[in-house]
Structures are given as C-alpha cells and as structure tokens.
C-alpha cells in the first residue's frame, strides 16, 4: 500500500546535479592526475639531458597555436550559449569555428614536430628532453584529437538537424572536456615554453 518508507516531512535532497557533468568532472580530475605526473617528470628532467638538442636551442614559442586554442574555449562557450537559447545556426557556426581553431592547433603542433624531428634531429629517443617533450605535448595533442573527433561528430549531427536546445546539457558536458583540454595547454605551455626554456 504505502510507499516503502514512511516520511513525515518529505524532503528533497535539492535538485540533484546533472550526472553527465558530475561524471565529466570526475574524468577531468582523473585525467589531471595523469597530466600532473607527466608535468612532474618534465619539471624533474629540465636541464638533465646529457647530449642532443636543448630546449633553448630548438624550441620556438608557439604563439599562434596558443592563441587559437585558448580562443576556441571562448567560441565553444558562445556556441553553448547559443544552443541554450535554441539558436541552431549560431550554435553550428561557433562550433565550426571551434573545430577550425582546434585543427589549426593540431596542424601547428604537427609542423613544430616536423621541424624538430627533421631539422633539429630531436626524437623521442634522442635525450631526456625529447622523451619528456614528446610525451607531454603528445599526451595533450591526443586529448585535442579526441576532443576534435567528438566536436566534429556533434557538428555533423547539427548540420543534419539532429540537435536541438534539449541537448544543451549534453553539449555543455562535452564543452567542459574541451575547456579542460585548453586549461591543460596553459599548464603545458608554462612548463615547456616558459619554465623549461
């Protein structure tokens, strides 16, 4: 007859947090721990390479890349806002810009690696700098790639009209991941191109 439990005063635990967002935040915390280990290794090995190219000699500060990636955080926020207000065209446009900016970053990184490998002779095996540099930047780049794949999938769905304002919480969750990727770049940039150089 009765509900399983008697309750004199019905109390709600309040509005429970969106589970997608909670899950994403947990994933971000876990991933941050992975990154911090690689960052620690990078910091620990600064200046310990016994031979081969040193950061000062070969690294150039990737200003354009950084500007692109950081501004993509802004553009994805604009697209989040657009979908919240059900402005599909604006959403798709800003999402497209985000993807473009992310792609520029990836191409830029690829270009940087090409130069380092073929002109400066710095590979993963060369020395400790190569080991820590390629693993840390590569780890970040792989996150950018995963993020881009998801963004492109979302964009394709939006282009074919499968996205509506009802999906905005889901999209915010995805955007959260992208913001995380950008925030990590700030750390990587500081460690690799400012402190380590």
């Amino acid at each position: 007859m009765a509900i399983p439990v008697v309750a004199q005063h019905l109390e709600e635990p309040g509005h429970l947090p969106n589970k997608g967002k909670v899950g994403m935040i947990c994933l971000i915390i876990g991933e941050s721990a992975i990154f911090s280990i690689f960052v620690l290794a990078y910091l620990f090995y600064i200046g310990k390479s016994q031979w081969g190219p040193q950061p000062k000699e070969v690294l150039e500060v990737p200003i354009l890349n950084t500007v692109c990636l950081l501004s993509s955080s802004l553009t994805i926020w604009l697209s989040e806002r657009a979908i919240e207000h059900n402005l599909l065209m604006t959403f798709t446009a800003w999402l497209g810009v985000t993807i473009a900016l992310g792609s520029i970053f990836l191409v830029g990184t690829g270009w940087e690696w090409y130069k380092l490998i073929y002109h400066d002779g710095l590979a993963l095996q060369t020395n400790l700098f190569g080991t820590t540099f390629y693993s840390l930047v590569g780890l970040h780049a792989s996150h950018v790639i995963i993020g881009l794949i998801m963004l492109i999938t979302l964009w394709l769905f939006a282009m074919t009209g499968h996205v509506s304002g009802k999906n905005s919480e889901r999209i915010q969750t995805l955007a959260l991941y992208w913001h995380f990727v950008d925030a990590v770049w700030v750390v990587v940039f500081a460690v690799v191109y400012v402190i380590g150089r």
Binding site: V5, L10, P13, L16, K19, G23, L27, I29, I34, A41
Partner: protein, 562 residues
Amino acid sequence: MADASLPIGSLDLTPEALAEGTFREYLHGWVTTVDHKRLGILYVLYALFFLVVGGAEAMIIRVQLMYPDNHFVSPEVYNRMFTMHGTTMVFLMGMPLLFGFANYLVPLMIGARDMAFPRLNALSFWLTAFGGILLYYSFIGGFGLYGQGSAPDVGWFEYAPLTTRTYSQGHAVDFWALSLFVTGWGTLGAAINIITTTISMRCKGMTMMRIPLFCWLLLCTSALTLVAITPLTAAQVMLELDRYLGAHFFDTQAGGSALIWAHFFWIFGHPEVYILVLPAFGVANEIIPVFSRKPAFGYTAMVAASVGIVFISLGVWAHHMFTVGMTSAANAFFTLSTMIIAVPTGIKVFNWIATMWGGKLRFATPMLFAATFVVHFLLSGLTGIMLSASPWDWQLHNSYFVIAHFHYVLVGAIVFSMLAGIYYWFPKVTGRLMDEKLGKWHFWLFLIGFHLTFDFLHVPGILGMPRWVYTYEASRGWASWNMIASVGGFIQFLASGIFVWNLLYSGLHGAEAGPDPWDAWTLEWATSSPPPEYNFAVEPVVASRRPLWDLKHPSDTDTQYE
C-alpha cells in the same frame, strides 16, 4: 530471452523458468547485462576466483619457505609467484571485490534503480576481466624477443632499473604494465560511476548526510581512486615508452632516474592501501550497528574522518622509500604526515567501539568477522606507527616485519571485513542465509590460521629475514618461525575451502532469508531478496538515516532527532 535473463533467482517463484531457456541464452543474459546487481555479482565472483588463484600462489611461497634450503620450486618460478601473488591480490582481487560490493549495494542503499552509467559499468567490469586474463596469459604467452621471460617476476612494484630492456628481456614486464593499464581504465570507469551515482541518483529525502556510511566510504574510496590509479597509468605509459620506443624516463644511462619510478609508483601505491581499506571500514560501519542494536556512533565524525584520510593519504607515499636516501627534511615530513593518519583512523576505531559499547551484541558470523576486523586493524595500525618512524623503518625496511604488518592490514583487516560483508549481504543477493555452523568453522579456523601466520612472521623480520628471499640457511634461526607461518597458511587455505563450500551449499540449500533477515535499517533490506531488476517498485522516500527503523517504529521515528 525473456526468462533466461532474469537475475539468478529474482523473486521469481517459478525457478523452473530458468531451465526453459537454453544455457546459451542464460549466458548471453549475463554477458550483455547492464544491471548493477548482476555486474556486482560478476565482480565479486571474479574477485573470489582470483582470491583462490592468488591464495594458491601464496601457498607455493609458504611451502618453499617452510624449510631452510628448500627447493620446492625454482628461484625463477618463486620470483613469478611473489610478483603475481601481490599483483593479483591488489588489482584482480582487492579492487574488483570492493567494486563488486559498491556496484551491488550503493544503488540499493541510496534508493536508486541503477548506477548512473549502466553501460560504462559493464565496460568497466569487462575491461577489468579481460585485463586480468591478459595478465595471466603471460604464463603461456609471455616469451618475448629473446625467447625469455614468462609471467612478471620483478616484484609487484616493478622497480626500475630492473624493468629496463637490459635486465628484463622478455615481455614479462610489458605484460604487467599493459594488462594493468587495461584494468586501470576499468577501475577509473567504476570510480567515476560510483561517485556520480552517489551524487546524482539519490532518492527523495536522501541528503548527503543521510546516506549510509558505507556509501560515504565508497564515495571516498572512489574519489581516491580517481587521483591514485591514474598516476600508475601514466607511469606505466612511461615505462612502455622506455621499453618499446627507447625513451629515457627511467634510463639511468641517459640521465634518467630510477628513483622517480619509485615515487610515481608509491604516489599510487600508498593511496591504494586506503582504496582497499576504506570499503572495509564501510562494511564494518553497516554491520556493527545492526548487530549491536544501536545506531552508528558519531556519523558526522566518521564522515569527517573518512574525508580526512583521503586527503592525508595523498601526502605520505614516500614512507615506502625511507631507505633510498631522501633528505632528512623529507624523512621528517613523511614520518609526521604518516603519523597524523593515526588521528582520523583513531576516531574510527573509537567510534566502532563506542557503537558496540552497551549495545545488545549478537555474534552471528558477520559480526564475528566485523568485530575481529576492528581488533586486527588496531594492531596493524600500531605496527604501522612503528614503521612510520624513519629510523625504525631503516632497520626493518623490506623485511618480513613489513610483510607481516601489511598482511595484517590486508588480510586481518580488509579480508576479514569483506568476508563479514559477504556473510551479511549473501541473503540479500541469493535470498538464502549462509550456514551459521560452517560460518563459525570458517571464522575460527581462519582466525587461528591468520594469527599463526602473521603474528609469527613479525619475528623473522626482526631477526633480519628480507622479503622476496628465495630460501635461507638453517643457521639463521628463521626455520621454526617459517614453519609455524606455513602451517598457519595451510589452515587459512583450508578455512577458505570451507567458505567456498558454504557459498555453494547455502546458495542452493540455505534457509530462506526473507527480505530483512538481520532486522537492519538501511534501504537495501526494504526490497525482496534478491531484489527485482528495478530494485524498488516505487521509488523510496526517506526522512532519516535509518529509513527502516522509522518503518518498524512508527511511533518513535528517527526523524524527530534530526
């Protein structure tokens, strides 16, 4: 399909229905399930299987050490045994067991119908399962480049530079790193799922300060897992980059540091101990109040202490490394931070005793195990405090004293508590009570065996017997201690046999349990045993920490005291 995929004996009054589906359909139901209860059962069965496997490896170690100058197994096999014993018990037994408990119980306890991400839950389990299979495949498929190597054999913490290509030529180390890389993602998924479930899936009225302490402890464990298992994953990636692509992370020839592996490993390794022990706390927190007929003493203090342990345990890892020659500042820091953990754990021990004090105690098998857990945890904590003082550790590091200390935690505290949990929730899972008589036999034999083994192992440690030693000369004076420890080991193995028999026998012929055999107070006892697929026909609403108390004593509910 319809009948075949019922959870084993859900409250189906016609169990013959199961027989109608073919075995293949039945199996299909288990393989494709996303039901948190079935995945919980799978986790626990998987863990119990590896408990037997890891236990058998321990037996081989004990036989080898029984006599001086023994050659029961070759040194190579012996190395594989202790490496695989440690790895198995931590990664394939301990964590799956706790995630099994969490999977089955957390949604029931907070009044939810499933985990937050049911498919991720399935993925996490199967990653753990396949990772374990991959690890054990190394016994037959482990030969590598030079036809050498088999199972991992350089100790469960795989210290560099022993893991470099130079010293470990086969694929044994790669098997260790990569299979645990796979299970690591499964673990991460499970942790995310448990946290999200606890935060986002609570039923009406189930505020955070009303969820059962078990759920709080699992929340803390999962939070710790998030930040502890991932550093190991990162370190394993580095190790594999070293071994496959010629990177230099742990390559001392190129300026790399072997020590940094130790740091990375123990950044994971110490919190891991707390990942394993916090659920054991949670189980005790559920069982002790019910069998003392009193509410848990100091709920908020317990929560605060648990959260405190999570944070402090992240800053103590280097107490495993006192002998590597850190600065005296680092030694002092890690000594002090380790000792501070005694405060929150002290609060816990104290609260359990306070819960029992003046209560109407009833020592059914679950309570026997849970009460013993408290005693063992206290004793292991005392040797832990001894070892946390760096000078003491310099003397006893990597000796059998350390082995005895951490087995006191892992077996005496964690295994005892988890066994208590199995005896306690078995009726909920199967609808049948476990046999009390067999349970008592199991308890007393296991207790005697445990004390014979691990009490007496402290002594050869003080006498200088190092861990991982293959054998020893008679003149060392360690022989009789080892003999006693081995005999105790066999008694524990025998007791575990009784336990397995009890599981099988009671699962088929045990007395009907009914929904609430222990007269308990948390929500999982408000539904039938075993619970239906959807847990609760109507979503429950709670108004206090002990919803079933309120139901049973409508004139005197807990709500008026909150």
